[in-house]
């Protein structure tokens, strides 16, 4: 018996600690039981690929219009900082669904044996773009040799750059890469700290509006220059899909409903986005919706909106193998499923 034990029935003592923790434990258990009885909504974390802009309005529309909640989903939408960071949260179980680049999902699946699956594809053409300012020595892709390009480590325009480079004969070793925080990339291009910048085509309205001193912002869109592939879509882990297929179906369907709503009612959808992102500039955000409409093939899609074809998936994989040196590619059929879209 140590001198620390006292037989008083109040104040610090081992007996009291046990008594109190047992009491606390019972209260907690009771509370939890009560809480789970009341809570029917499934908590879901959905991580985006980037800072929410106009192109992300569909998800916020689905949130605000109750498409998620009417299907029993309590969805939290989280801002992203790039593809690999987002995929990592998926692997770690911090998010149940991510909105990320399908080509990169494929690469991660092949390299790290992480069983990620694409459930839908929104950007059916790659929106990856090289932005540059006119009149500073860049007129064609090959001119990028020897220039400084601003990029954010881990985001898919950088990961997929080798495809664009090889398709246009650019020697990547001659490019000077400048790592920039995602939020500062626009500023770094516009104040000429870098000669070019890579991100998605959606940023064009923002850049054009903010360009100073008569600068004109020009683009090389990867898909126009020989590097076209499936880009962002919804991804989830196979394990989760086996465990909770109904949740996955509800999530995908609600999200596609959100898409339809946003494309048919852009102004309302942007207003809903603005509620969550008060700093958003509505006019530039609104300009992104027509771009979104084109990317998801809203007017020309075969099969349900957002569905993935094996053909283009194979083309995406071939590009990854040929230009990005993807090894041990997973069988294409395992990479995606359209079953939740119906």
């Amino acid at each position: 018996m140590t001198g620390n034990q006292r037989s008083k029935s109040f104040g610090p003592s081992r007996r009291n600690f046990l008594r109190n923790s047992a009491g606390a434990g019972l209260a907690l258990a009771a509370g939890t039981r009560i809480r789970t009885a009341r809570a029917a909504a499934e908590k879901v974390n959905f991580q985006l690929d980037w800072i929410p802009y106009g192109r992300h309005a569909p998800y916020y529309a689905a949130l605000e219009k109750g498409f998620y909640s009417s299907r029993g989903l309590d969805v939290s939408i989280a801002q992203g900082r790039g593809t690999l960071q987002g995929i990592r949260t998926l692997i770690a179980g911090q998010s149940q669904f991510v909105f990320q680049d399908i080509g990169v999902m494929m690469a991660v699946r092949a390299k790290e044996h992480a069983q990620i699956k694409a459930l839908a594809c929104m950007y059916q053409k790659s929106p990856h773009t090289v932005f540059y300012i006119k009149g500073h020595g860049i007129t064609k892709p090959k001119d990028l040799e020897g220039k400084r390009i601003a990029f954010s480590p881990g985001d898919s325009p950088k990961l997929m750059f080798p495809a664009f480079a090889k398709a246009n004969g650019i020697d990547e070793a001659k490019v000077k890469w400048l790592s920039v925080d995602p939020n500062s990339k626009n500023a770094v291009l516009l104040n000429h700290s870098s000669d070019a910048m890579i991100t998605y085509i959606f940023t064009l309205p923002v850049l054009q509006k903010a360009a100073q001193g008569g600068d004109v912002v020009e683009t090389f869109v990867y898909s126009d220059y020989g590097a076209d592939f499936y880009s962002d879509g919804i991804g989830a882990m196979e394990e989760y899909l086996k465990e909770k297929p109904e949740v996955a179906r509800n999530f995908v369907q609600a999200t596609m409903e959100g898409f339809k709503y946003a494309i048919e009612h852009p102004k309302e959808a942007i207003a809903m986005l603005k509620k969550h992102q008060p700093q958003l500039d509505e006019d530039t955000a609104l300009k992104e919706i027509p771009l979104l409409r084109k990317l998801i093939n809203y007017d020309h899609h075969d099969g349900p909106l957002g569905s993935v074809t094996e053909e283009k998936m194979k083309a995406t994989q071939d590009l990854m193998i040929k230009y990005l040196g993807l090894k041990n590619p997973p069988p294409v059929a395992e990479m995606f499923t359209n079953r939740f879209l119906n």
């Binding site: 960071q85 480590p153 881990g154 400048l178 700290s193």
Partner: protein, 274 residues
């Protein structure tokens, strides 16, 4: 013999206390690393998220020259930032003590500047100063100089008034008061400020590199992270820890030298004046 105590002078402790001082933290660290290695080998954590210590060491050796190259850049950034914060912080501290108008004018502004989170204004620094080494040095300076100013002020003010009066009564000039009384009294506090600033300067350099850079350990952390090379990320962190510790240790050694030199130079003066 002096009774054994946990003092700064390791050499006078009996050998067992001296060994314990290094043994305890070393053994604890080894235990932590062994648990870490076991957990990662058992596969309980994905290597994408937490690599094994053995993998980190292996990656460090594989990429040794790259790590050295990147360390060079970051070291230059934080050394210059630290140097600048000393060059500006010490005189500024002295000015605040010796000039009431300056104290009243500058002090509140300094405090206001200090409360600005530098990570928030780092992107602005980058826009103003570009993406090269200047912006990183200035961010490191901005984060590191405040502790130096504060500790200099506190130190210089800590001299006992009686001692100052004594020197003045013996005909000492303000400069002699400064050199023989205020400054030596201030040294412990000043060096405390320098030690804090040394770690902050490293943070500042990394914050700058995170916002925008094309080389350095912060840059490598981001790029390796972006390519899912988690072992390399940890190798960079290890490198940064080593650099920070070496720098701190050097400042401590400098403190020992300066204090000893100052004491001995005063003794020589004192003897000489007989």
């Amino acid at each position: 013999m002096a009774a054994p105590s946990i003092g700064n002078n390791v050499e006078t402790l009996p050998w067992i206390a001296r060994v314990s001082r290094y043994l305890y933290p070393a053994v604890t660290a080894i235990i932590i690393f062994m648990i870490w290695e076991a957990v990662t080998r058992a596969g309980w954590v994905s290597s994408l998220i937490l690599p094994a210590p053995s993998a980190i060491i292996a990656t460090s050796f594989e990429n040794f020259s790259l790590l050295m190259q990147m360390s060079g850049t970051t070291t230059a950034e934080f050394l210059l930032g630290f140097g600048l914060s000393v060059a500006i912080g010490l005189p500024l501290g002295a000015l605040v003590v010796y000039s009431k108008p300056i104290e009243l004018a500058i002090y509140p502004l300094l405090v206001a500047f200090q409360t600005l989170p530098k990570a928030a204004i780092a992107p602005i620094f980058i826009v103003w100063l570009g993406t090269g080494i200047t912006s990183k040095v200035l961010i490191a300076f901005a984060i590191a100089f405040f502790p130096i100013v504060i500790d200099t002020v506190v130190g210089l003010r800590s001299a006992q008034p009686e001692t100052i009066h004594l020197v003045r009564s013996m005909g000492g000039s303000p400069l002699q008061v400064f050199w023989y009384v205020r400054f030596p009294n201030a040294l412990p506090a000043i060096f405390a400020g320098l030690k804090v600033a040394s770690t902050l300067a490293v943070v500042g350099a990394i914050v700058g590199e995170f916002v925008s850079s094309d080389r350095g350990l912060g840059y490598l952390v981001l790029v390796a992270n972006g390519e899912l090379k988690t072992s390399l990320v940890f190798a960079c962190v290890l490198m940064l820890t080593i650099l920070g510790m070496v720098f701190y240790f050097l400042v401590e050694q400098l403190e020992g030298l300066v204090v000893r030199w100052h004491v001995s130079s005063r003794q020589i003066e004192a003897v000489g004046s007989y």
